[in-house]
Protein backbone atom coordinates (compact mmCIF):
# COMPACT_ATOMS: atom_id res chain seq x y z
CA UNK A 1 0.00 0.00 0.00
CA UNK A 2 1.47 3.31 -1.12
CA UNK A 3 1.76 6.20 1.27
CA UNK A 4 -1.17 8.63 1.50
CA UNK A 5 -0.04 12.04 0.24
CA UNK A 6 -3.32 13.96 0.15
CA UNK A 7 -5.94 13.54 2.79
CA UNK A 8 -9.10 15.53 3.40
CA UNK A 9 -10.96 14.97 6.67
CA UNK A 10 -14.35 16.61 6.85
CA UNK A 11 -12.83 19.54 4.98
CA UNK A 12 -15.32 22.43 4.88
CA UNK A 13 -15.40 25.93 3.54
CA UNK A 14 -18.22 28.41 3.95
CA UNK A 15 -18.60 31.89 2.48
CA UNK A 16 -21.11 33.62 4.71
CA UNK A 17 -24.22 31.46 4.72
CA UNK A 18 -23.12 29.54 1.63
CA UNK A 19 -21.30 26.25 2.09
CA UNK A 20 -19.06 25.78 -0.93
CA UNK A 21 -17.35 22.63 0.33
CA UNK A 22 -19.28 20.51 2.79
CA UNK A 23 -17.34 18.05 4.97
CA UNK A 24 -15.51 16.20 2.22
CA UNK A 25 -13.21 13.31 3.08
CA UNK A 26 -10.92 11.33 0.82
CA UNK A 27 -7.35 10.10 0.55
CA UNK A 28 -5.00 9.98 -2.41
CA UNK A 29 -2.06 7.59 -2.50
CA UNK A 30 1.38 8.45 -3.79
CA UNK A 31 1.70 8.04 -7.57
CA UNK A 32 -2.04 8.02 -8.20
CA UNK A 33 -3.87 9.99 -10.85
CA UNK A 34 -6.88 11.20 -8.91
CA UNK A 35 -9.75 12.71 -10.90
CA UNK A 36 -11.72 15.34 -9.04
CA UNK A 37 -14.98 15.68 -10.93
CA UNK A 38 -17.93 17.96 -10.52
CA UNK A 39 -20.18 20.38 -12.33
CA UNK A 40 -19.34 24.06 -12.45
CA UNK A 41 -19.94 25.51 -9.03
CA UNK A 42 -19.86 22.15 -7.27
CA UNK A 43 -16.94 23.34 -5.14
CA UNK A 44 -13.96 21.77 -6.92
CA UNK A 45 -11.88 24.90 -7.16
CA UNK A 46 -12.64 25.90 -3.59
CA UNK A 47 -11.53 22.45 -2.41
CA UNK A 48 -8.33 22.64 -4.47
CA UNK A 49 -7.55 26.12 -3.19
CA UNK A 50 -7.74 24.84 0.37
CA UNK A 51 -5.47 21.89 -0.41
CA UNK A 52 -2.78 24.05 -1.98
CA UNK A 53 -2.77 26.55 0.86
CA UNK A 54 -4.43 29.47 -0.93
CA UNK A 55 -7.60 29.41 1.14
CA UNK A 56 -8.07 28.72 4.82
CA UNK A 57 -10.54 25.91 5.57
CA UNK A 58 -13.52 26.85 7.75
CA UNK A 59 -13.36 23.51 9.51
CA UNK A 60 -12.03 20.02 9.04
CA UNK A 61 -8.50 19.14 8.08
CA UNK A 62 -6.43 18.84 4.94
CA UNK A 63 -3.09 17.06 4.99
CA UNK A 64 -0.88 17.36 1.94
CA UNK A 65 2.56 15.74 1.77
CA UNK A 66 2.36 15.27 5.52
CA UNK A 67 1.65 18.93 6.35
CA UNK A 68 -1.55 20.49 7.63
CA UNK A 69 -2.78 22.97 5.01
CA UNK A 70 -4.21 25.31 7.62
CA UNK A 71 -1.29 25.26 10.01
CA UNK A 72 1.63 25.04 7.63
CA UNK A 73 0.58 26.15 4.13
CA UNK A 74 4.11 27.26 3.23
CA UNK A 75 5.52 23.77 3.90
CA UNK A 76 2.80 22.33 1.68
CA UNK A 77 3.76 24.75 -1.09
CA UNK A 78 7.33 23.45 -1.20
CA UNK A 79 6.02 19.97 -2.04
CA UNK A 80 3.45 20.76 -4.68
CA UNK A 81 3.07 22.09 -8.18
CA UNK A 82 -0.09 23.84 -9.33
CA UNK A 83 -1.66 24.70 -12.62
CA UNK A 84 -4.70 26.92 -12.34
CA UNK A 85 -7.67 26.78 -14.67
CA UNK A 86 -6.91 30.32 -15.73
CA UNK A 87 -3.53 30.58 -17.43
CA UNK A 88 -1.39 32.35 -14.89
CA UNK A 89 2.14 32.48 -16.15
CA UNK A 90 3.36 35.84 -17.44
CA UNK A 91 2.08 36.46 -20.94
CA UNK A 92 4.49 39.34 -21.45
CA UNK A 93 7.53 37.17 -20.70
CA UNK A 94 9.01 34.60 -23.05
CA UNK A 95 8.85 30.84 -22.54
CA UNK A 96 12.45 30.79 -21.32
CA UNK A 97 11.92 33.75 -18.99
CA UNK A 98 8.89 32.16 -17.35
CA UNK A 99 10.80 28.95 -16.76
CA UNK A 100 13.74 30.89 -15.37
CA UNK A 101 11.55 32.91 -13.01
CA UNK A 102 9.79 29.92 -11.48
CA UNK A 103 12.97 27.86 -11.39
CA UNK A 104 14.56 30.73 -9.51
CA UNK A 105 11.67 31.05 -7.08
CA UNK A 106 11.82 27.32 -6.29
CA UNK A 107 15.53 27.69 -5.60
CA UNK A 108 17.02 25.76 -8.51
CA UNK A 109 20.73 26.35 -8.93
CA UNK A 110 21.94 28.05 -12.09
CA UNK A 111 23.23 24.76 -13.49
CA UNK A 112 19.93 23.03 -12.70
CA UNK A 113 18.02 25.90 -14.22
CA UNK A 114 19.95 25.71 -17.41
CA UNK A 115 19.66 21.94 -17.75
CA UNK A 116 16.02 21.90 -16.72
CA UNK A 117 14.86 24.62 -19.05
CA UNK A 118 16.73 23.14 -22.02
CA UNK A 119 15.22 19.75 -21.25
CA UNK A 120 11.70 21.16 -20.79
CA UNK A 121 11.78 23.24 -23.92
CA UNK A 122 12.90 20.25 -25.90
CA UNK A 123 10.33 17.90 -24.38
CA UNK A 124 7.55 20.41 -25.01
CA UNK A 125 8.78 20.85 -28.53
CA UNK A 126 8.94 24.61 -27.94
CA UNK A 127 12.49 25.12 -29.20
CA UNK A 128 11.37 27.45 -31.95
CA UNK A 129 9.26 29.47 -29.48
CA UNK A 130 11.85 29.66 -26.73
CA UNK A 131 12.18 33.44 -26.97
CA UNK A 132 8.63 34.04 -28.03
CA UNK A 133 6.38 35.91 -25.64
CA UNK A 134 3.88 33.55 -24.13
CA UNK A 135 1.01 35.79 -25.22
CA UNK A 136 1.72 34.80 -28.81
CA UNK A 137 1.54 31.04 -28.18
CA UNK A 138 -1.63 29.09 -28.94
CA UNK A 139 -3.65 28.05 -25.88
CA UNK A 140 -2.65 24.38 -26.11
CA UNK A 141 1.04 25.24 -25.92
CA UNK A 142 0.49 27.62 -23.10
CA UNK A 143 -1.22 24.84 -21.12
CA UNK A 144 1.70 22.53 -21.81
CA UNK A 145 4.10 25.20 -20.65
CA UNK A 146 2.07 25.79 -17.49
CA UNK A 147 2.15 22.07 -16.73
CA UNK A 148 5.88 21.92 -17.35
CA UNK A 149 6.43 24.85 -15.00
CA UNK A 150 4.32 23.11 -12.36
CA UNK A 151 6.69 20.12 -12.62
CA UNK A 152 9.86 22.21 -12.76
CA UNK A 153 10.94 21.78 -9.16
CA UNK A 154 10.08 18.05 -9.14
CA UNK A 155 7.22 18.27 -6.68
CA UNK A 156 5.71 15.18 -5.09
CA UNK A 157 2.18 16.23 -5.94
CA UNK A 158 0.79 18.31 -8.78
CA UNK A 159 -2.65 19.90 -8.70
CA UNK A 160 -4.19 20.55 -12.09
CA UNK A 161 -7.35 22.62 -12.12
CA UNK A 162 -9.14 21.96 -15.40
CA UNK A 163 -5.91 21.74 -17.32
CA UNK A 164 -7.54 20.93 -20.65
CA UNK A 165 -10.31 23.51 -20.59
CA UNK A 166 -10.86 25.01 -24.01
CA UNK A 167 -8.26 23.03 -25.98
CA UNK A 168 -8.88 20.77 -28.97
CA UNK A 169 -9.24 16.97 -28.60
CA UNK A 170 -5.81 16.19 -30.04
CA UNK A 171 -4.03 18.57 -27.70
CA UNK A 172 -6.10 17.16 -24.86
CA UNK A 173 -4.93 13.65 -25.74
CA UNK A 174 -1.32 14.82 -25.85
CA UNK A 175 -1.79 16.57 -22.55
CA UNK A 176 -2.94 13.33 -20.95
CA UNK A 177 0.13 11.61 -22.35
CA UNK A 178 2.27 14.04 -20.39
CA UNK A 179 0.14 13.42 -17.30
CA UNK A 180 0.82 9.69 -17.63
CA UNK A 181 4.47 10.40 -18.13
CA UNK A 182 4.59 12.41 -14.91
CA UNK A 183 2.67 9.72 -13.03
CA UNK A 184 5.10 7.09 -14.30
CA UNK A 185 7.94 9.02 -12.68
CA UNK A 186 6.16 8.77 -9.33
CA UNK A 187 4.37 12.13 -9.16
CA UNK A 188 0.89 12.16 -7.66
CA UNK A 189 -1.61 13.99 -9.84
CA UNK A 190 -4.78 15.61 -8.60
CA UNK A 191 -6.82 16.63 -11.64
CA UNK A 192 -10.14 18.42 -11.83
CA UNK A 193 -12.06 18.22 -15.05
CA UNK A 194 -15.53 18.25 -16.40
CA UNK A 195 -14.72 16.16 -19.44
CA UNK A 196 -16.14 12.80 -18.47
CA UNK A 197 -14.00 10.87 -20.99
CA UNK A 198 -10.96 12.17 -19.13
CA UNK A 199 -12.31 10.65 -15.96
CA UNK A 200 -11.72 7.24 -17.51
CA UNK A 201 -8.00 7.98 -17.69
CA UNK A 202 -7.76 8.39 -13.92
CA UNK A 203 -6.82 5.69 -11.41
CA UNK A 204 -9.59 6.83 -9.09
CA UNK A 205 -12.19 9.54 -9.24
CA UNK A 206 -14.52 11.42 -6.96
CA UNK A 207 -17.64 13.22 -8.09
CA UNK A 208 -18.59 16.37 -6.25
CA UNK A 209 -22.18 17.54 -6.18
CA UNK A 210 -23.20 20.67 -4.26
CA UNK A 211 -20.07 20.75 -2.14
CA UNK A 212 -20.23 17.08 -1.16
CA UNK A 213 -18.56 14.00 -2.54
CA UNK A 214 -21.32 11.91 -4.08
CA UNK A 215 -19.20 9.09 -5.44
CA UNK A 216 -15.64 7.89 -4.95
CA UNK A 217 -13.69 4.97 -6.40
CA UNK A 218 -12.06 3.46 -9.48
CA UNK A 219 -13.90 4.33 -12.67
CA UNK A 220 -14.56 0.68 -13.54
CA UNK A 221 -15.77 -0.17 -10.03
CA UNK A 222 -18.05 2.87 -9.97
CA UNK A 223 -19.61 1.92 -13.26
CA UNK A 224 -20.16 -1.62 -11.99
CA UNK A 225 -21.69 -0.45 -8.70
CA UNK A 226 -23.99 2.03 -10.36
CA UNK A 227 -24.80 -0.23 -13.29
CA UNK A 228 -23.80 2.45 -15.73
CA UNK A 229 -22.02 2.26 -19.08
CA UNK A 230 -19.97 5.38 -18.64
CA UNK A 231 -18.84 7.86 -16.03
CA UNK A 232 -20.86 10.39 -17.94
CA UNK A 233 -24.02 8.47 -17.14
CA UNK A 234 -23.18 8.29 -13.44
CA UNK A 235 -22.33 11.94 -13.39
CA UNK A 236 -25.58 13.00 -14.98
CA UNK A 237 -27.55 10.75 -12.63
CA UNK A 238 -25.82 12.24 -9.57
CA UNK A 239 -25.68 15.82 -10.68
CA UNK A 240 -29.13 16.16 -12.21
CA UNK A 241 -31.13 16.53 -8.98
CA UNK A 242 -28.71 19.21 -7.88
CA UNK A 243 -28.84 21.04 -11.17
CA UNK A 244 -32.61 20.77 -11.34
CA UNK A 245 -32.84 22.15 -7.82
CA UNK A 246 -30.76 25.19 -8.56
Amino acid sequence: MAETVIEARELTRTFGAFTAVDRISFAVAEGEIFGFLGANGAGKTTAIRMLIGLLRPSSGQGIVAGFDVARDPEAVKRQIGYMSQKFSLYADLTVAENIRLYGGIYGLSNAELKAKSADLIERLDLGHARDERVARLPLGWRQKLAFAVALLHEPRIVFLDEPTGGVDPITRRQFWDSIYQAAASGVTLFVTTHYMDEAEYCDRISIMVDGRIAALGEPAALKREQGADSIDEIFVRLARPALAGS
Binding site: R49, L54, Y82, S88, Y90, D92, G104, I105
Partner: protein, 372 residues
Protein backbone atom coordinates in the same frame (compact mmCIF):
# COMPACT_ATOMS: atom_id res chain seq x y z
CA UNK B 1 18.36 37.16 -1.84
CA UNK B 2 18.79 35.09 -4.96
CA UNK B 3 15.04 34.66 -5.27
CA UNK B 4 14.68 38.42 -5.07
CA UNK B 5 17.03 38.81 -8.00
CA UNK B 6 14.78 36.64 -10.15
CA UNK B 7 11.73 38.64 -9.12
CA UNK B 8 13.36 41.98 -9.82
CA UNK B 9 14.60 40.77 -13.16
CA UNK B 10 11.07 39.72 -14.07
CA UNK B 11 9.60 43.01 -12.90
CA UNK B 12 12.01 45.12 -14.93
CA UNK B 13 11.59 42.94 -17.99
CA UNK B 14 7.86 43.55 -17.77
CA UNK B 15 8.14 47.26 -17.13
CA UNK B 16 10.55 47.86 -19.99
CA UNK B 17 8.45 45.76 -22.30
CA UNK B 18 5.22 47.54 -21.53
CA UNK B 19 4.40 49.96 -24.30
CA UNK B 20 2.08 52.01 -22.14
CA UNK B 21 3.60 52.08 -18.71
CA UNK B 22 7.10 53.08 -19.70
CA UNK B 23 6.12 56.11 -21.78
CA UNK B 24 3.63 56.93 -19.05
CA UNK B 25 6.40 56.96 -16.47
CA UNK B 26 8.72 59.15 -18.47
CA UNK B 27 6.58 61.15 -20.85
CA UNK B 28 3.71 62.01 -18.54
CA UNK B 29 5.92 63.65 -15.95
CA UNK B 30 7.54 65.85 -18.57
CA UNK B 31 4.23 66.77 -20.12
CA UNK B 32 2.74 67.43 -16.76
CA UNK B 33 5.65 69.54 -15.72
CA UNK B 34 5.41 71.58 -18.88
CA UNK B 35 1.64 71.95 -18.87
CA UNK B 36 1.06 72.32 -15.15
CA UNK B 37 3.96 74.60 -14.50
CA UNK B 38 2.85 76.90 -17.29
CA UNK B 39 -0.89 76.69 -16.74
CA UNK B 40 -1.01 76.55 -12.97
CA UNK B 41 -0.25 80.19 -12.52
CA UNK B 42 -1.97 82.87 -10.54
CA UNK B 43 -0.24 85.57 -12.51
CA UNK B 44 -2.78 87.62 -14.42
CA UNK B 45 -1.64 89.08 -17.67
CA UNK B 46 -3.27 91.54 -20.05
CA UNK B 47 -6.55 91.78 -18.20
CA UNK B 48 -9.18 93.56 -20.28
CA UNK B 49 -9.96 97.03 -18.98
CA UNK B 50 -12.76 99.41 -19.89
CA UNK B 51 -11.50 102.92 -19.64
CA UNK B 52 -13.90 105.71 -18.83
CA UNK B 53 -11.77 108.83 -18.88
CA UNK B 54 -14.03 111.78 -18.05
CA UNK B 55 -11.16 114.12 -17.33
CA UNK B 56 -9.21 114.05 -20.58
CA UNK B 57 -6.25 115.75 -18.99
CA UNK B 58 -2.52 115.11 -19.33
CA UNK B 59 -2.57 113.67 -15.82
CA UNK B 60 -5.36 111.20 -16.58
CA UNK B 61 -3.51 110.14 -19.70
CA UNK B 62 -0.37 109.58 -17.67
CA UNK B 63 -2.36 107.46 -15.25
CA UNK B 64 -3.72 105.30 -18.06
CA UNK B 65 -0.22 105.04 -19.45
CA UNK B 66 0.95 103.64 -16.11
CA UNK B 67 -1.67 100.91 -16.28
CA UNK B 68 -1.04 99.98 -19.89
CA UNK B 69 2.75 99.97 -19.55
CA UNK B 70 2.83 97.12 -17.05
CA UNK B 71 1.43 94.55 -19.46
CA UNK B 72 -0.94 93.34 -16.77
CA UNK B 73 -3.74 95.51 -18.13
CA UNK B 74 -4.91 96.13 -21.63
CA UNK B 75 -7.34 98.91 -22.48
CA UNK B 76 -9.85 97.10 -24.65
CA UNK B 77 -12.85 99.38 -24.40
CA UNK B 78 -13.60 103.05 -24.13
CA UNK B 79 -17.29 103.19 -23.26
CA UNK B 80 -19.11 106.47 -23.35
CA UNK B 81 -20.83 106.08 -20.02
CA UNK B 82 -20.54 104.23 -16.73
CA UNK B 83 -23.69 102.28 -17.60
CA UNK B 84 -22.08 101.05 -20.78
CA UNK B 85 -18.95 100.09 -18.88
CA UNK B 86 -21.02 98.15 -16.37
CA UNK B 87 -22.65 96.31 -19.19
CA UNK B 88 -19.22 95.28 -20.50
CA UNK B 89 -18.37 93.93 -17.07
CA UNK B 90 -21.61 92.00 -17.01
CA UNK B 91 -20.91 90.44 -20.40
CA UNK B 92 -17.33 89.62 -19.38
CA UNK B 93 -16.04 91.92 -22.10
CA UNK B 94 -13.98 93.61 -19.41
CA UNK B 95 -12.51 92.43 -16.13
CA UNK B 96 -12.11 95.89 -14.70
CA UNK B 97 -13.46 99.40 -15.13
CA UNK B 98 -11.07 102.26 -14.71
CA UNK B 99 -13.26 105.28 -14.15
CA UNK B 100 -11.48 108.65 -14.01
CA UNK B 101 -14.01 111.27 -12.92
CA UNK B 102 -14.09 114.81 -14.30
CA UNK B 103 -11.71 117.33 -12.70
CA UNK B 104 -9.32 114.55 -11.72
CA UNK B 105 -6.26 116.62 -12.54
CA UNK B 106 -7.62 119.73 -10.99
CA UNK B 107 -8.55 117.99 -7.74
CA UNK B 108 -5.17 116.44 -7.56
CA UNK B 109 -3.37 119.72 -7.98
CA UNK B 110 -5.58 121.86 -5.86
CA UNK B 111 -6.45 119.51 -3.02
CA UNK B 112 -3.69 116.98 -3.46
CA UNK B 113 -6.43 114.37 -3.34
CA UNK B 114 -8.65 112.98 -6.06
CA UNK B 115 -11.19 110.20 -6.42
CA UNK B 116 -10.85 107.26 -8.77
CA UNK B 117 -13.22 104.37 -9.31
CA UNK B 118 -11.87 100.87 -9.96
CA UNK B 119 -14.51 98.19 -10.38
CA UNK B 120 -13.59 94.52 -10.79
CA UNK B 121 -15.45 91.47 -12.01
CA UNK B 122 -15.04 89.41 -8.85
CA UNK B 123 -16.73 86.19 -9.91
CA UNK B 124 -13.21 84.83 -9.81
CA UNK B 125 -12.30 86.42 -6.52
CA UNK B 126 -8.68 85.40 -6.64
CA UNK B 127 -8.09 87.10 -9.96
CA UNK B 128 -9.96 90.21 -8.85
CA UNK B 129 -7.83 90.34 -5.73
CA UNK B 130 -4.66 90.04 -7.74
CA UNK B 131 -5.77 92.78 -10.16
CA UNK B 132 -6.61 94.98 -7.23
CA UNK B 133 -3.17 94.56 -5.72
CA UNK B 134 -1.51 95.20 -9.08
CA UNK B 135 -3.57 98.40 -9.32
CA UNK B 136 -2.50 99.46 -5.87
CA UNK B 137 1.14 99.14 -6.81
CA UNK B 138 0.59 101.04 -10.06
CA UNK B 139 -1.31 103.80 -8.30
CA UNK B 140 1.39 104.06 -5.68
CA UNK B 141 4.01 104.53 -8.35
CA UNK B 142 1.84 107.04 -10.19
CA UNK B 143 1.30 109.00 -7.01
CA UNK B 144 4.99 109.17 -6.21
CA UNK B 145 5.83 110.47 -9.63
CA UNK B 146 3.08 113.05 -9.54
CA UNK B 147 4.13 114.15 -6.12
CA UNK B 148 7.72 114.53 -7.21
CA UNK B 149 6.55 116.73 -10.02
CA UNK B 150 4.38 118.77 -7.72
CA UNK B 151 7.22 119.08 -5.30
CA UNK B 152 9.38 120.61 -7.97
CA UNK B 153 6.63 123.03 -8.89
CA UNK B 154 5.77 123.98 -5.34
CA UNK B 155 9.14 123.38 -3.79
CA UNK B 156 7.56 121.29 -1.12
CA UNK B 157 9.24 118.33 0.42
CA UNK B 158 9.22 114.91 -1.18
CA UNK B 159 7.44 112.18 0.81
CA UNK B 160 9.41 111.10 3.84
CA UNK B 161 8.83 107.39 3.66
CA UNK B 162 9.60 105.47 0.60
CA UNK B 163 9.29 101.70 0.55
CA UNK B 164 11.18 99.58 -1.86
CA UNK B 165 10.31 95.91 -1.49
CA UNK B 166 12.98 93.31 -2.04
CA UNK B 167 11.78 89.78 -2.74
CA UNK B 168 14.07 87.07 -1.48
CA UNK B 169 14.70 83.62 -3.00
CA UNK B 170 12.40 84.27 -5.95
CA UNK B 171 13.30 87.75 -7.05
CA UNK B 172 11.09 87.86 -10.12
CA UNK B 173 8.17 86.48 -8.08
CA UNK B 174 8.01 83.76 -10.69
CA UNK B 175 5.04 81.58 -10.01
CA UNK B 176 6.64 78.84 -12.03
CA UNK B 177 9.74 78.71 -9.87
CA UNK B 178 7.41 78.30 -6.93
CA UNK B 179 5.31 75.57 -8.58
CA UNK B 180 7.91 73.31 -10.17
CA UNK B 181 9.47 71.91 -6.97
CA UNK B 182 5.99 70.98 -5.77
CA UNK B 183 4.99 69.43 -9.06
CA UNK B 184 8.14 67.32 -8.98
CA UNK B 185 6.92 65.91 -5.70
CA UNK B 186 3.55 65.17 -7.24
CA UNK B 187 5.20 63.23 -10.07
CA UNK B 188 7.28 61.16 -7.71
CA UNK B 189 4.10 60.43 -5.78
CA UNK B 190 2.22 59.29 -8.86
CA UNK B 191 4.90 56.78 -9.80
CA UNK B 192 5.49 55.57 -6.28
CA UNK B 193 1.85 55.24 -5.28
CA UNK B 194 -0.39 54.87 -8.31
CA UNK B 195 1.78 52.72 -10.54
CA UNK B 196 2.88 50.58 -7.64
CA UNK B 197 -0.71 49.91 -6.55
CA UNK B 198 -1.91 49.23 -10.09
CA UNK B 199 0.91 46.83 -10.81
CA UNK B 200 0.10 44.59 -7.88
CA UNK B 201 -3.64 44.64 -8.49
CA UNK B 202 -3.06 43.87 -12.13
CA UNK B 203 -1.33 40.65 -11.15
CA UNK B 204 -4.27 39.83 -8.95
CA UNK B 205 -6.75 40.55 -11.71
CA UNK B 206 -4.93 38.51 -14.35
CA UNK B 207 -4.39 35.70 -11.89
CA UNK B 208 -0.60 35.57 -12.07
CA UNK B 209 -0.38 36.37 -8.39
CA UNK B 210 -2.08 33.07 -7.61
CA UNK B 211 0.71 31.15 -9.32
CA UNK B 212 3.20 33.05 -7.17
CA UNK B 213 1.13 32.42 -4.08
CA UNK B 214 1.34 28.63 -4.46
CA UNK B 215 5.13 28.81 -4.49
CA UNK B 216 7.12 28.92 -1.26
CA UNK B 217 7.91 32.56 -2.10
CA UNK B 218 8.01 34.50 1.15
CA UNK B 219 5.71 37.42 1.69
CA UNK B 220 8.56 39.85 2.22
CA UNK B 221 10.27 38.65 -0.94
CA UNK B 222 7.17 39.33 -2.98
CA UNK B 223 6.68 42.74 -1.40
CA UNK B 224 10.30 43.82 -1.74
CA UNK B 225 10.26 42.54 -5.31
CA UNK B 226 7.28 44.75 -6.02
CA UNK B 227 8.36 47.87 -4.15
CA UNK B 228 11.99 48.14 -5.23
CA UNK B 229 11.20 48.67 -8.94
CA UNK B 230 8.73 51.45 -8.22
CA UNK B 231 11.02 52.97 -5.65
CA UNK B 232 13.73 53.14 -8.31
CA UNK B 233 11.32 54.37 -10.96
CA UNK B 234 10.17 57.13 -8.63
CA UNK B 235 13.77 58.28 -8.23
CA UNK B 236 14.29 58.05 -11.99
CA UNK B 237 11.20 60.18 -12.58
CA UNK B 238 12.60 62.71 -10.11
CA UNK B 239 15.94 62.80 -11.93
CA UNK B 240 14.18 63.36 -15.20
CA UNK B 241 11.90 65.99 -13.72
CA UNK B 242 14.80 67.89 -12.20
CA UNK B 243 16.53 67.84 -15.54
CA UNK B 244 13.47 69.25 -17.29
CA UNK B 245 13.02 71.83 -14.53
CA UNK B 246 16.61 72.96 -14.97
CA UNK B 247 16.83 72.84 -18.75
CA UNK B 248 13.33 73.84 -19.82
CA UNK B 249 12.24 76.12 -17.02
CA UNK B 250 15.61 77.31 -15.81
CA UNK B 251 14.42 76.74 -12.26
CA UNK B 252 17.21 77.58 -9.88
CA UNK B 253 18.62 74.58 -8.05
CA UNK B 254 20.31 76.28 -5.15
CA UNK B 255 20.53 73.41 -2.68
CA UNK B 256 22.10 69.99 -2.76
CA UNK B 257 20.70 67.59 -5.35
CA UNK B 258 21.90 64.50 -3.44
CA UNK B 259 19.93 65.79 -0.45
CA UNK B 260 16.78 66.00 -2.59
CA UNK B 261 17.29 62.41 -3.69
CA UNK B 262 18.01 61.20 -0.18
CA UNK B 263 14.74 62.70 1.01
CA UNK B 264 12.85 61.40 -2.01
CA UNK B 265 14.19 57.94 -1.17
CA UNK B 266 12.64 58.10 2.28
CA UNK B 267 9.46 59.71 0.97
CA UNK B 268 9.03 57.01 -1.66
CA UNK B 269 9.10 54.34 1.03
CA UNK B 270 5.98 55.89 2.51
CA UNK B 271 4.33 56.23 -0.92
CA UNK B 272 5.18 52.64 -1.87
CA UNK B 273 3.64 51.63 1.42
CA UNK B 274 0.47 53.53 0.52
CA UNK B 275 0.46 51.91 -2.90
CA UNK B 276 0.78 48.49 -1.34
CA UNK B 277 -2.03 49.31 1.08
CA UNK B 278 -4.27 50.42 -1.78
CA UNK B 279 -3.54 47.21 -3.67
CA UNK B 280 -4.26 45.10 -0.60
CA UNK B 281 -7.68 46.72 -0.35
CA UNK B 282 -8.61 46.33 -4.03
CA UNK B 283 -9.54 43.36 -6.15
CA UNK B 284 -9.70 45.04 -9.54
CA UNK B 285 -7.61 47.67 -11.26
CA UNK B 286 -10.70 49.85 -11.39
CA UNK B 287 -11.05 49.81 -7.62
CA UNK B 288 -7.36 50.42 -7.18
CA UNK B 289 -7.36 53.34 -9.60
CA UNK B 290 -10.28 54.92 -7.81
CA UNK B 291 -8.79 54.43 -4.38
CA UNK B 292 -5.31 55.56 -5.40
CA UNK B 293 -6.69 58.65 -7.13
CA UNK B 294 -8.67 59.49 -4.03
CA UNK B 295 -5.58 59.20 -1.85
CA UNK B 296 -3.58 61.16 -4.40
CA UNK B 297 -6.10 63.99 -4.69
CA UNK B 298 -6.53 64.24 -0.97
CA UNK B 299 -2.75 64.37 -0.59
CA UNK B 300 -2.40 67.03 -3.26
CA UNK B 301 -5.18 69.22 -1.86
CA UNK B 302 -3.68 69.03 1.60
CA UNK B 303 -0.10 69.45 0.45
CA UNK B 304 0.14 73.18 -0.06
CA UNK B 305 1.00 72.54 -3.68
CA UNK B 306 -1.75 74.72 -5.12
CA UNK B 307 -3.08 76.48 -2.05
CA UNK B 308 -0.95 77.82 0.76
CA UNK B 309 -1.25 75.78 3.94
CA UNK B 310 -1.12 78.99 6.00
CA UNK B 311 -4.44 80.11 4.59
CA UNK B 312 -6.20 76.81 5.32
CA UNK B 313 -8.52 76.56 8.31
CA UNK B 314 -6.77 75.36 11.43
CA UNK B 315 -8.16 71.82 11.29
CA UNK B 316 -6.95 71.42 7.72
CA UNK B 317 -3.55 72.76 8.70
CA UNK B 318 -3.41 70.06 11.38
CA UNK B 319 -4.33 67.45 8.77
CA UNK B 320 -1.48 68.47 6.52
CA UNK B 321 0.92 67.40 9.27
CA UNK B 322 -0.13 63.82 8.62
CA UNK B 323 0.37 64.21 4.88
CA UNK B 324 3.87 63.17 3.81
CA UNK B 325 3.39 65.02 0.53
CA UNK B 326 2.94 68.36 2.32
CA UNK B 327 6.30 67.92 4.03
CA UNK B 328 8.15 66.93 0.89
CA UNK B 329 6.64 69.83 -1.09
CA UNK B 330 7.83 72.25 1.55
CA UNK B 331 11.25 70.58 1.82
CA UNK B 332 11.74 70.55 -1.94
CA UNK B 333 10.87 74.22 -2.24
CA UNK B 334 13.29 75.08 0.52
CA UNK B 335 16.14 73.03 -0.93
CA UNK B 336 15.68 74.08 -4.54
CA UNK B 337 14.70 77.72 -4.13
CA UNK B 338 16.34 78.71 -0.85
CA UNK B 339 19.28 76.37 -0.95
CA UNK B 340 18.40 74.99 2.48
CA UNK B 341 20.57 72.27 3.92
CA UNK B 342 19.50 69.36 6.10
CA UNK B 343 19.59 71.57 9.19
CA UNK B 344 16.94 73.89 7.77
CA UNK B 345 14.49 71.20 6.71
CA UNK B 346 14.60 68.98 9.76
CA UNK B 347 11.33 70.33 11.11
CA UNK B 348 9.59 68.71 8.13
CA UNK B 349 11.95 65.85 7.42
CA UNK B 350 11.29 63.68 10.45
CA UNK B 351 7.66 63.25 9.49
CA UNK B 352 8.77 61.27 6.43
CA UNK B 353 10.60 58.36 8.08
CA UNK B 354 7.81 58.36 10.67
CA UNK B 355 5.17 58.02 7.93
CA UNK B 356 7.14 55.29 6.18
CA UNK B 357 7.64 53.54 9.50
CA UNK B 358 3.90 53.46 10.14
CA UNK B 359 2.43 52.93 6.67
CA UNK B 360 4.84 50.32 5.34
CA UNK B 361 4.57 47.75 8.16
CA UNK B 362 0.77 48.12 8.23
CA UNK B 363 0.55 47.54 4.48
CA UNK B 364 2.90 44.57 4.68
CA UNK B 365 0.81 43.03 7.45
CA UNK B 366 -2.34 43.59 5.47
CA UNK B 367 -0.96 41.75 2.46
CA UNK B 368 -1.96 38.06 2.56
CA UNK B 369 -0.85 35.00 0.69
CA UNK B 370 -3.63 32.85 2.08
CA UNK B 371 -7.24 33.90 1.57
CA UNK B 372 -9.22 33.97 4.79
Amino acid sequence: MRTLRFLLQKEFLQIFRDRQILPMIFLMPILQLIVLASAATFEVKSAKVDLLDQDHSPTSRRLVEHFAATGYFRITGRPASLAEAERDLELSRARMILNIPPHFEEDLRRNRRARLLLAYDAVDGATAGILSSYSAVILGRFEREEQAELAVERRSAAPLVRTSPSFWYNRELSYRAFMVPGILVELVTMVGLLLCALNIVREREIGTIEQLNVTPLKRWQFIVGKLVPFWLLGLAALALGLLVAKLVFAIPIRGSVPLVFAIAAVYLLAMNGLGLAVSALSYTQQQATFLALFVLLASILLSGLFTPIDSMPLWAQKLTLANPMAHFVEINRRILLKGSGFGEIQDHFWYLPAAAGIILPLAVLRYRKVGS
